[in-house]
Symmetry: C2
Subunit: 527 residues, 2 copies
């Protein structure tokens, strides 16, 4: 089912000297397959092959690329339960989650295929000539989005399907017309290899050039660094830690030719409790949040790790209920011994900070690699003065910050680092009572939620998954939804180019029937 080799386009290759295995956290054993890390030679081969593939792949029509993406989805589905079993053996996640995430991945591929079939995403913009204009004639200029070149995608530990090998970064880069080199995540190398098989079969069935996709194994940081510094690589997609994402960003910025890195990184996803909401329905909210904090062992980038409120009896009751409810929930298995190791370490660092109270910390014995959920509280001033408390504790952990009044709450919000999401739990009229507080939260986040939970990132065009640094390295882009394609494209202008030699998207006849901005007006008409 797997071989442990790298995919350099359609070729299998395992020339490196470094090997590793993946780990089954539920069984607490190493899995059998031995994976061979990509060598420098193989990294170079994959990058050069991608650059060569780019020449023809960048010219593929929207329909051809859509067929490729739909074929990837079909090939993934065709692997059936074997793939689900592999996923579970490398993550400890339950079957329902595996199948749900596979569905999300198929949905993402399909949404980009639909975007390509419709075709207007290229933002065709046409200004026709006016050769009689004085004092100088106006030339015909036509612009559309074109792909950047080979993209390196770093798989994420917590989403082997949806944010890894054939996840949103890969789907959006392929949709753009960019070949992808996946830096396989070492914790789910087998899942990565199987999904890579699916992509490469799909590429062959739909006549895509060899090198449109490669998958390189890696157990440490070297393969990633070599990829990001390779001159044939033109952009990078990453989902993971702040430390990892920032390191790649720095490397890319220091190249002779800097390249864009979109890294979706850390976030504690602050949740703001407004007074009347917790007075009116604090108990229900506490129960909802006990579930949200522990969902998937808290291994979501949108996990609510920080809850902010104003000192009151209702808030005290909320904290009590949340603390009681959360320890009633069964702990669950984390992805890998390293992940649970970091969780326990970071939880202890937080707990040892001065002025912090532990309100809940699951104490019963649990199976190995299972995470004990915890709730802690701290007052506003202590939080403001200690940035260690602002750090994400990746896992089923949440910190409540009890502010003395609305002003302190606003101050806490405005001192937060950038976040993927911010949530307001309030009554509708409270939104109007605290405009500055809400404006402060808006300035720190990519998505603001009213009366919901931040977990659950809908795949739809209106989704912004990203946000101010360090939620992402560039708040001007999203990692989720069809607009994620904008990370991998550049506008390109043709001036006075013969009509019949223009790309179809830009010819007078508009044969694709797409929406274009023609002389300042949106139109599907011919010119």
């Amino acid at each position: 089912m797997t071989t442990g080799e790298n995919h350099i386009g359609i070729k299998r290759s395992a020339k490196g000297g470094k090997t590793y295995t993946t780990f089954n956290p539920k069984l607490n054993i190493e899995n059998e397959q031995i994976f061979t890390e990509a060598s420098s030679e193989e990294i170079n081969q994959a990058a050069e092959l991608a650059a060569e593939a780019f020449k023809s792949f960048s010219k593929k029509s929207g329909l051809e690329k859509a067929n490729f993406l739909r074929a990837i989805a079909d090939e993934i589905i065709a692997m059936g339960d074997d793939l689900i079993a592999m996923y579970q053996s490398e993550t400890g996640l339950p079957e329902g989650r595996a199948k749900g995430e596979r569905g999300r991945t198929i949905g993402q591929l399909s949404s980009f295929a639909t975007m390509l079939e419709e075709g207007s995403w290229v933002a065709a913009t046409i200004d026709t000539a006016d050769l009689d204009r004085k004092p100088i004639p106006k030339q015909d200029i036509r612009k559309m989005l074109v792909p950047l070149g080979p993209v390196v995608v770093f798989g994420a530990s917590n989403f082997p399907f949806a944010y890894s090998t054939a996840g949103g970064d890969t789907a959006s880069a392929l949709a753009a017309g960019c070949p992808v080199i996946c830096k396989s995540h070492p914790m789910h190398a087998g899942t990565g290899e199987m999904v890579s098989d699916a992509i490469i079969r799909a590429a062959q069935k739909t006549n895509m050039p060899n090198g449109v996709f490669s998958n390189l194994n890696s157990s440490g940081i070297e393969v990633g660094i070599e990829l990001v510094t390779h001159p044939d690589v033109k952009a990078v997609g990453f989902t993971g830690s702040i430390q990892g994402g920032r390191a790649l960003y720095n490397i890319a910025a220091q190249r002779d030719e800097p390249i864009p890195v979109f890294a979706e990184m850390g976030s504690v996803n602050p949740v703001v409790l407004l007074p009347k909401a917790i007075q009116n329905r604090g108990e229900a909210l506490a129960k909802t949040y006990a579930g949200s904090i522990t969902l998937g062992s808290g291994q979501f980038c949108t996990n609510p790790g920080l809850i902010l409120g104003i000192k009151s009896d209702s808030l005290t009751d909320f904290i009590s209920t949340l603390s009681e409810e959360i320890v009633k929930l069964e702990p669950s298995c984390m992805l890998h011994p390293n992940i649970i190791g970091n969780y326990e370490k970071n939880k202890q660092i937080a707990i040892q900070q001065e002025g912090l109270t532990v309100n809940a910390d699951f104490q019963d014995s649990v199976a190995v690699n299972y995470a004990r959920q915890a709730i802690v509280t701290v007052n506003g001033l202590t939080f403001l003065n200690n940035t260690t408390l602002h750090q994400e504790v990746f896992g089923p952990f949440s910190m409540l910050v009890v502010c003395k009044d609305a002003n302190e709450l606003k101050l806490v919000i405005s001192h937060l680092e950038g976040q993927l999401t911010g949530t307001i739990l309030g009554e509708e009229k409270e939104l109007q009572e605290f405009p500055e507080l809400i404006a402060a939260l808006q300035s720190r986040v990519g998505r603001i939620i009213f009366n919901g939970v931040p977990t659950g990132v809908e795949v739809c065009p209106a989704m912004l998954h990203g946000g101010p640094y360090p939620a992402s390295t560039d708040s001007r882009f999203t990692a989720v939804g069809v607009h994620a394609v904008n990370r991998w494209v550049r506008p390109f202008s043709f001036q006075s180019w013969p009509n019949k030699l223009l790309p179809k998207e830009l010819t007078d006849e508009n044969p694709l029937g797409i929406i274009r901005l023609v002389n300042g007006k949106n139109s599907k008409d011919k010119i």
Copy 2:
């Protein structure tokens, strides 16, 4: 008319200890006004004031911002000939150029105002709820573009109006809702001060917050560095040299919170001569290019500094004609003694390279600060092996590269650094005869031109002014045209937000009547 002080919002301030003057290159004398460089304290004041102004300016409606931009244009026009005289005294450029550039600047402000009045530029995207969806309900999500925060704009030496104080970067940043701090260009500090006056009067007349615009004098690099490292600054626009732009990019990338820098930098704007075109109309092309190379003393970022062709008798004739024609043209005054000093220095560096032939070098005596145009040739192999020859010589200078065949020409093109423009001079059917050569050129440039000249950057939505590094630091954006606004905005999502509290752009009623992507379809309808 000028005071030499900085504008910190509406306040005048000159607390720094460093002063300087501007220079009249035509008269070869220093101008009288003494300018005081901004102190660290003043830089900090301007940045903090901009951050405070952002809170209300970011909430201004499109119509309010449009009124502001139109008022800036009116105030600039109202200064009449005084402003034109100041511009000429600081640049040595003729009155026609000054007025033409002022017209372009007014046109840019007006085009962003029109964009704001229409309103669809915010890319409103709405996915409505489906609370009955299984297995999990779909929440209502609505996304639009929001401003990043205060933007620092670096004025360009060669365009005191169109790419400086109230130029494209400022106009696009203000349109986005971002306050602007202009780092005044030292060569035209008086023009900058007058235009700043106009902007600040316009801000007051249209009720914009104090701090929406500041203008800081600087004679060296310190003011710019302090601005780019200031935590309240959220983005940077720059037009100038590769060295300067890259230095700012590096500084911004090394901040705790990295910020985007859009720097439009060097370009030699390769022009490719295809064989039949120069056979059929080489003489006419040579005359056209003699004019294009010397236009404005070659002080345009789109100046054609590199002409590439295949060895032939026609090419030899083209070089002869170009060389003869170019020395018939009258030399003109460059912007500043530093600029002509660099021109002469860089021209000599090029000329001294091995294997280079000087075909034309204007020899007659010229007035001080007037540039002597030159044409040089080199063969393809020499050019490929010596990257010093790839460097821009900013001024009326162009290098012809004579390749032995089409393959060598393709090789030369594919080894070029990124460029703003690439031009093909050819017959229409030659475009089909050399597809790989044209693809290679497309991959290196932001705009490709058929049978024209690269000088003259039309201000229109279809214009891409930027390109692969080092033409710009981020090929995904343009510096010219209304889409330049995309550099200063980020998408922001509201989830389950009460309809009446949403920005007007996103409410069900669509009161602004803008085009929105609603459940995947473009529509101006209510929901």
